[in-house]
Amino acid sequence: MNAELRKKALHYFFEKIVEPLGFKFTLDVELMNFLLDQEVILENKHGIPFCPCQPLRHKRERDMQIVCPCIPFHRKHFDEIKRCWCGLFVHKDVLDPDTLPQLPPKDVNHA
């Protein structure tokens, strides 16, 4: 399938999933395009648009939790850092995604 068309399809599917969860696509269009490009490549390779920034463990139960958009399975962490790990999605109130540090769960300030 044409990669640009598939990117548009993924954008269409994902937008309606993340919206009710309080997220939107990142305003960094270059990053968004790069990540969607990678997801199309991953989908061509594995049949599934996995997260381009998390490891495939070759265990179905774990790997299904990093299929994009993976927000439902990592919600507490992503709500805390106001973005998903790869940064494709950010909280709706985020205007400058570059200011958000990519903090792992262990480093999130729980204060």
Partner: protein, 81 residues
């Protein structure tokens, strides 16, 4: 000079930014792209990630310290620049 190594993914933009950071600061480093590594190497990397509480890449090791995520300020502090 501190020893810098990292685990990355070939598909991850933050991993590219991390490699660029060290390149731009003229700090030599080694890396393994997890997704391009063999099964045994992947298994070893996953063990390290899990032990460190990391869920994603990049995973940067600076001497004995490890930093998960693209965090230039922390890289600078760990290197001492």
């Amino acid at each position: 000079m501190k020893k810098v190594s990292m685990y990355t993914l070939s598909t991850c933009p933050w991993c590219r930014k991390t490699k660029n950071y060290f390149t731009q600061h003229n700090i030599p480093f080694t890396y393994i792209d997890y997704d391009l590594a063999d099964e045994a190497t992947q298994s070893r990397i996953l063990d390290e990630l899990d032990a460190a509480g990391a869920t994603g890449f990049p995973f940067v090791k600076i001497d004995d310290e490890f930093i998960v995520g693209y965090l230039p300020d922390r890289y600078a502090k760990a290197i001492g620049i």
